[in-house]
Subunit: 202 residues, 2 copies
């Protein structure tokens, strides 16, 4: 008997909707007996290629979405803040994550959840090595070496490969979940994801 | 004792998400004992002002959304099609609707639901007077007079006023529902709408 394939979770470390989905998705996958494969990428690259702009700006739509994201967090009972430095470039966190992933996918998963919490629960700026360092040490990782190598050509190439993999998979937003080839975009697809896993598709 | 205020339902007649929401929203309002105030506008004016583009294009995001809208309809058990002439300009339907509304808001409501069904259930082109005419007659309305006057300055002015009212209310998409000042954007906010009505806000 073959194991069911892992559920892919594509996201950007700077995505509030990824934070809002991550815990529920983790529990949903556990209940369904499915692995969750955390695959961070850079949403900025998607926006650049498509000519789209980050949604939470100061337009009427952006202001509505800022209001809605807070309301969604309240309804989920999740502490949430949009940090002062939002929107931000998450490339350093991305490079550190994929370095850790090459050593230990399990520890990378814990780190990823902690990075989303650091930003959207605690309001910390994960672009700063002084913020990333203690987080890495918390998981028994060599913060100094990981941060020192984050700009090395092989690490940049690894991170770029992972972003390209997301683009090749058709990822057009964050969070983006794929179950047996079926894509689900957005925190608000959780109910569809649960129903899909329970029924095997609809 | 004062009656609770009506729930506002802003939408564009060419919006598939408005079609997907309309029936459920009607039932939800009935159960909550609240009036539903159908307020069609032109999404194109919102897009024009904000520099946004219709979402269901041929980009990776657009293709995903086309897939998702079909999947959402299946899950809701609603017959659905994206008609061949989609996306389209719904200004004629808008002008006819507001003329009917001036005569009878109740009949306008029935007409609005029928116009959404005509497009997304039957795939008919409601830009065509030959399609609109029989729909109007079905509700005992004078199709010939309504269509003949659709281009009259006072009708154009009335429709423009209604679009401006939507913009002034901060409407940035379709469907857009407002309950006692609280906005909800999108077919996928139905669960939040129901929870809001049950709990009085969260």
């Amino acid at each position: 008997m073959s194991l069911p394939s892992a559920i892919k979770f594509y996201f950007d470390f700077s995505s509030p909707y990824a934070y809002l989905l991550a815990r529920d998705l983790t529990h949903t996958c556990q209940r369904a007996g499915r692995e969750l494969d955390w695959h961070p990428f850079l949403l900025g690259v998607v926006f650049q290629q498509s000519g789209r702009k980050p949604p939470l700006d100061s337009s009427p739509r952006g202001l509505y979405l800022q209001h809605e994201v807070q309301r969604t967090a309240r309804r989920k009972g999740l502490k949430f803040q949009l940090p002062k430095h939002f929107p931000f470039n998450s490339v350093l966190a991305l490079r550190v994550y994929w370095q850790v992933h090459a050593i230990s996918p399990r520890r990378a998963r814990h780190l990823a959840a902690a990075l989303l919490d650091a930003t959207f629960l605690d309001g910390l700026d994960i672009r700063e090595p002084s913020v990333l360092g203690p987080l890495l040490e918390r998981f028994g990782l060599d913060a100094e070496a990981l941060l020192a190598h984050a700009g090395a050509p092989e690490v940049k190439a690894l991170a770029k490969t992972k972003v390209d993999e997301a683009l090749s998979a058709g990822v057009a937003g964050s969070p983006w979940v794929v179950i047996d080839g079926e894509p689900f975009w957005g925190n608000d697809r959780l109910d569809d994801i649960q129903h899909w896993l329970e029924t095997g598709g609809f």
